[in-house]
């Protein structure tokens, strides 16, 4: 896979046309996505029109933008005007939003070309993309294994070489976990740096849009294009977004790196070994690596699986068969709503709505939801304390490499444990990145995670760049498309 920045440079300099690049990737999707099922919708015509517009700007001597002609996959919970946006749910099957998400507008303004909408766990609830009403996505490294989730389609699309860039959303690890399992870069920005306008809400205090790519520099470039204040999102930070592109190669000399045992103990030995290897790389590059303990992180998963379902049960009350999406008729309005929601939601979404409704119900609110909010405070305070002695933290992204399809679908708690290393950053609103760092003995990708305090994206990208330069070479996945090449 030629990096996105290289492709954009070729287009900007007139060496290669955007049309040629987009045609090449559309052909790869048509040829190879049958086996991967990363895409729910492919935008052949719209992508061609947009590529032609980029080529027109280049021919006219105008600036086509920093991501000119770069094909991008969009997770199908991002609104695209006039284009089906399903959230992988039957309740939104066929729905076409009347507006574009802010990130979609910003990508277009930067010259990037949306080539399709990618598969996800229904409403982004899941860690394997098996909870899609339209069938699972396959891991490009092993077709009988999951790509992770919920942004599994975006991760698999980049991993297989179908697109150089994709967007995902990360509520509890939904970008970083599939990135790790598919051997690509995936990053969750600081809460509030990227507008959520047009991102279909799952858990509003945790959701954040972020990039997938094959290189750290591409992820940083995509983040910079998306980030920045948006008056249409009342939780958007009204301050300049952190800039990282100028400091990617500043190295880690003198940086303090903490290794919290809560993000290492308990993960598979081969994953822990890669984290140790990554720590050695940073040490050799001049960083001071220190083991530490943040005991509160071990409560993150339990708090998350009360808070996120609680927010989801509220957010998903809007799917009532009145204004958009599916309607199943009933004798009165409430019967219609109950029948619509029974028919339209899949098993995991119902499970989370039930859990959240229970955690918010009279008699249980204080013990579950209220208590989880207090534990969230404990986790934030514990991070703040850890960052007095460390500039960044390093740990595993996931406890294991990609697991077989079907392995955890009947055991929700086992599935939820896939997120144990990623949820703390969401609870705190902090940035974190997963970068590919070798494989296990079976050749399945392993990701290591770099975490930092709010708005410290430049640090995250700097450390990730050092790790990337020393990572074991990435091997071609079994389901690689013709457009795949080593990063």
């Amino acid at each position: 896979m030629t990096s996105a920045l290289t492709l954009a440079e070729q287009v900007r300099s007139g060496t290669v046309s955007a049309t040629e690049i987009v045609e090449r990737h559309l052909a790869a999707i048509d040829e190879s996505d049958g086996a991967v099922h990363a895409f729910l919708t492919v935008l052949h015509d719209a992508a061609r029109r947009q590529a032609a517009e980029v080529d027109r700007l280049v021919a006219a001597g105008q600036d086509p933008g920093p991501l000119a002609g770069v094909p991008v996959g969009l997770k199908d919970n991002l609104c695209t005007r006039g284009v089906p946006t399903t959230c992988s749910s039957l309740i939104l099957d066929g729905w076409c939003p009347p507006y574009d998400a802010t990130v979609v507008q910003r990508l277009r303004a930067a010259g990037a070309v949306a080539v399709g909408k990618t598969n996800l766990d229904e409403f982004a609830m899941g860690s394997s993309t098996e909870n899609s009403a339209f069938g699972p996505t396959r891991n490009p490294y092993a077709a009988d294994r999951v790509p992770g989730g919920s942004s599994g389609g975006s991760a698999a699309a980049v991993s297989a070489g179908l697109v150089p860039l994709a967007l995902g959303s990360d509520t509890g690890g939904s970008i970083r976990q599939p990135a790790a399992l598919c051997g690509v870069v995936g990053m969750k920005p600081t809460y509030g740096t990227v507008s959520r306008y047009g991102l279909i809400a799952f858990a509003s205090s945790l959701d954040q849009i972020g990039p997938f790519s094959t290189t750290v520099a591409d992820a940083a470039a995509l983040f910079e294009v998306m980030a920045g204040h948006d008056p249409l999102d009342s939780t958007s930070l009204n301050r300049p977004a952190p800039r990282s592109m100028g400091s990617l190669d500043d190295g880690v000399d003198g940086l303090r790196v903490g290794l919290p045992r809560e993000l290492i103990d308990g993960v598979a030995p081969e994953v822990a070994a890669r984290v140790a290897q990554a720590a050695e790389v940073l040490d050799a590059a001049g960083a001071t690596v220190t083991e530490c303990s943040i005991p509160e992180l071990s409560y993150g998963l339990s708090a998350y699986y009360l808070l996120a379902p609680a927010e989801a049960s509220s957010n998903l009350s809007r799917y009532d068969g009145v204004r958009y999406g599916l309607r199943v008729d009933g004798d009165d309005v409430e019967a219609m709503m109950r029948a619509t929601r029974e028919a339209g939601f899949g098993a995991e979404v119902k499970r989370r709505i039930m859990l959240g409704t229970y955690a918010l119900s009279a008699g249980y609110y204080d013990a579950y939801y209220g208590q989880a909010q207090k534990v969230r405070t404990l986790i934030i305070n514990a991070f703040d304390h850890a960052y007095r002695n460390a500039d960044v933290l390093l740990g595993a992204t996931t406890p294991t490499t990609a697991f077989p399809l079907g392995d955890k679908v009947d055991d929700p708690m086992a599935m939820y444990l896939s997120d144990v290393c990623t949820v703390p950053s969401n609870l705190a609103g902090h940035p974190a990145i997963s970068i590919p760092f070798g494989t296990d003995a079976a050749g399945l990708p392993i990701g290591v995670q770099v975490l930092a305090s709010a708005l410290c994206e430049p640090l995250v990208f700097r450390v990730a760049t050092v790790l990337e330069s020393a990572a074991p070479p990435v091997t071609a996945p079994a389901l690689a498309a013709a457009t795949w090449s080593a990063p």
Partner: protein, 101 residues
Amino acid sequence: MTDAKLTREDAAYVARLARIDLTEDELDLYAGQLAVVLEHAAQVAALDTTGVEPTAHPLPLQNVLRADEPRPSLDRDEVLAQAPAVEDHRFLVPRIMGDVP
């Protein structure tokens, strides 16, 4: 304190609150599965959080206002075209009140 057990009746009550017509089989399934998740959540419920303030949101949020000036909105026909049922430029729903006596 919390009781990690979740009965089938609890599940039916919660399903009513959430406006989902779960089947008998689903009620059995979710009662069992939610009990397992709540058991895991019990470690949170058991923590001593005396004096700890709750966090609803990672940002110190305040109300966001804009100037009260007209600006473009979504196109009405485009919005209504996505609705399951429409009448006279409005969303149409089944009856909400009981029969007229």
